[in-house]
Amino acid sequence: MLTDTKDKLPPSTGTPAERLAALRDELAGWLPGEALVTRPETLRAYECDGLPAYRRVPGLVALPSTAEEVARILAAARWHRVPVIARGAGTGLSGGALPDPDGLLLSLARLNRILEIDPDNRTARVQPGVRNLAISEAAAPHGLYYAPDPSSQIACSIGGNVAENAGGVHCLKYGLTVNNVVGLRMVTPCGEILTLGSEALDAPGYDLLALLHGSEGMLGVIVEITVRLLPRPESVAVLLAAFDTIPAAAEAVAAIIGAGIVPAGLEMMDNPAIRAAEDFVHAGYPVEAAAIVLVELDGTPEAVDAAAERVAALLREHGSAQVRLARDPDQRARLWAGRKSAFPAVGRISPDYYCMDGTIPRHRLAEVLAEIARLSKDFGLPVANVFHAGDGNLHPLILYDAARDGELEKAERFGARILELCVAVGGTITGEHGVGVEKLDSMCVQFAPAELECFHAVKRAFDPDGLLNPGKAVPTLHRCAELGAMHVHDGRLPHADLPRF
């Protein structure tokens, strides 16, 4: 069957629903009963991922347990021309795993084994359904850990991390998922299994390993991942500094980087975010401050001591009247508590919030936040800002009430304006959450038609029949034309000097 279907497909017959039914019958012939979900009430559990504003009940859900089953399912889906949407833990924030009513949702949750920890090479070979944090837990007895730590790391799967090229709070020093994965096994839409990368530090040919990162399940289905592990730092320090103005905080951040220090984490929160967090977890944050900066340093005790002293001095020099230093784990956890609970904290003060994910050049922060504040007034929706200051990744949280007519749409329009702003200052519409279905329109702002054409051509190179997660991540040129969105060239809007925000 596999080899028969490899190259030629029969002409398409039947409606999408008929083709789906044919696939269901075929899979029911060999997949164990519990690995195939067909009952409407169970299908509903998969109707959305971490972006619940978008929901669609999938036509069918398969939960394979092996790479070989995945390969066979993909070959069968291709034969019947049924779209396949891969899903990890369903924690994604951009609707990348939004199902198709005429499609198969391929859950990789049962491929959840850690296959090997190799302490000598400092790698872990795992299946895609393994939770991010579980890798570090399994590596801990060897004094090793896996560095990328998206905020959902307790729940999110490593396969989803690769598909979205997930980040976290330690990207500045340790990179994104792409910088910490050394090898993948992926299944092509034909059902072939390919190996990309290796346990060596590079592999021959084009860097397809990198290309698969952030490809949102559209180029192949990942069935095995080999990640790099790092020695756990011997020593960690966290500093918290309060500032009276946002520009002062931004300058302090620039000064730390300018001094040649690379912190493990470098975060900023604005006043509304500080207040919400303090109300929630009582971390002892200064609620009068316009902004706080959190700095995490790690390394040998000698290196951390030296860097902590320099950072504290820089923070004071740039106007922080209050700098706190935490060395032991409890104190550190307390300083981090407010930041780590910022999203749920904002969730407490508003019926709903919409989390944005733009990246900006760090030196434009003060003006971007001022512009967001202005837009906030225009739209009549409050905003709290949480900022991965080290790498320029901004998370404005737009507060709204979905129960009020038209407010979700208003929040989305506001969000799109923020992303336009990010592109206009030389940044990007998504730093770590991905495009999914959520930011398709904003893609028209960031990329020119020729680049979007390239993305579609690359998609066809990997998936000639267009069956893997169709319609996500890259908008059609038609959609962009209809939208009439302005492509922002070279980080400059036409007539950038006109106040158009």
């Binding site: 090793l144 590079d202 397809l208 990198a210 290309l211 040649g260 390394g299 320029g392 680049e451 190179a461």
Partner: protein, 355 residues
């Protein structure tokens, strides 16, 4: 482009004209890495008119630079601000350009601890085989919009397009750098490298020439000093040019005649039994071999321990230089190449016969 850019327009015209005739072009920067890969073919297409640093603000930790800019000039500019390219790229000649460095995708002694070229590449502007100027990635570290088509440009040897401009992530130059030399036999050296790879000392390079293991430590002075105490051995003067000479293959070890193989293997891979002289870098992950052994034997031995082998220099360049790809993977490579270079005019055959 919003403004006239004569060097770029000239390149675009050449590309369109060559595409019309389906005439191969050899993309050349400084020509310093012409020895690398399969034999170059085609009419030369020079990028050296595309020069200049476009944007550089040290506290933003990135630089955007035109592809024909001399690498030495870029590095001098960064050094003046206490910054560097953390992947420590080899030049292999005075004329090396930034574009050639990215296209070759080669990294120096620091690579295992800081990442490769592709890990520091944030964005590119590239001229494709249809004359389109495409912009992928950007100037920020976190960017997941669209496929990461910029990263595969690193190491593609110009087969996907002409790099016009690149944006690179920067790192601060460490406050303190010192080198220790430890006389060790090969077994001792292997276990020492294993300990360094798994340990917490601020190691940024290792080199073992068969007799002596050299270790570079860098970072805050107290941390480096502790590392030195723990390592033992002898200190080399801080002015040592060992690491630069290693990076540039100027050490006496590299001057011996004969084909030079590069074996890229998992760091802890066991000793590989092939005749010849071994020089080991990257805590065991990059092993240089000067050997008369047959290509098939070298490739087989590298693959057996989970790695791959490149005929780096001094060998026959008509056959494959890089480790052959699995057929299904090669098909994907051909399709990806066709996206950017449908007429197959850019450096044809430089990477693989079929690309």
């Amino acid at each position: 482009m919003p403004c006239a850019d004569p060097p770029l327009e000239a390149l675009r015209e050449r590309v369109l004209e060559a595409a019309d005739r389906a005439a191969p072009l050899e993309i050349v920067g400084g020509g310093s890495k012409r020895f690398y890969g399969r034999e170059p073919q085609g009419e030369p297409l020079s990028t050296v008119a595309l020069t200049g640093i476009v944007r550089y603000q040290p506290s933003e930790l990135f630089v955007t630079v035109r592809a024909g800019t001399p690498l030495a000039q870029l590095e001098a500019t960064l050094a003046a601000e206490g910054q560097m390219l953390a992947f420590e790229p080899p030049h292999f000649g005075p004329g090396a350009t930034v574009g050639g460095m990215v296209a070759a995708g080669l990294a120096g002694p620091r690579r295992p601890w800081t990442g490769a070229v592709r890990d520091h590449l944030l964005g590119v502007r590239v001229l494709d085989g249809s004359g389109r100027l495409l912009h992928f990635g950007g100037e920020v570290m976190k960017n997941v919009a669209g496929y990461d088509l910029f990263r595969p440009m690193a190491g593609a040897l110009g087969t996907l397009g002409v790099l016009v401009e690149v944006t690179l992530k920067l790192s601060p130059v460490p406050a303190c750098t010192r080198t220790r030399a430890l006389p060790l036999n090969p077994d001792e050296a292997r276990s020492a490298m294993g300990r360094l790879w798994g340990g917490a000392e601020p190691v940024t390079a290792t080199w073992y020439d068969g007799e002596t293991l050299y270790v570079r430590l860098a970072g805050e002075e107290p941390a480096v000093a502790r590392g030195e105490r723990r390592l033992g051995g002898e200190a080399l003067p801080e002015t040592t040019t060992l690491w630069r000479d290693l990076r540039e293959h100027r050490l006496p070890w590299f001057r011996e005649p004969g084909p030079l193989w590069r074996l890229s293997v998992p760091p802890a891979a066991p000793a590989i039994r092939l005749p010849g002289d071994w020089g080991v870098e990257w805590a065991g992950a990059q092993r240089w071999l000067r050997s008369p052994a047959e290509a098939g034997a070298v490739r087989h031995a590298a693959a057996a321990v989970g790695g791959h082998a490149t005929l780096f220099r001094g060998g026959a360049r008509k056959g494959e230089v890089f480790h052959p790809l699995d057929p299904a993977l090669l098909t994907l490579h051909q399709r990806l190449k066709a996206v950017f270079d449908p007429k197959g005019i850019f450096n044809p055959g430089r990477l693989y016969t079929q690309l």
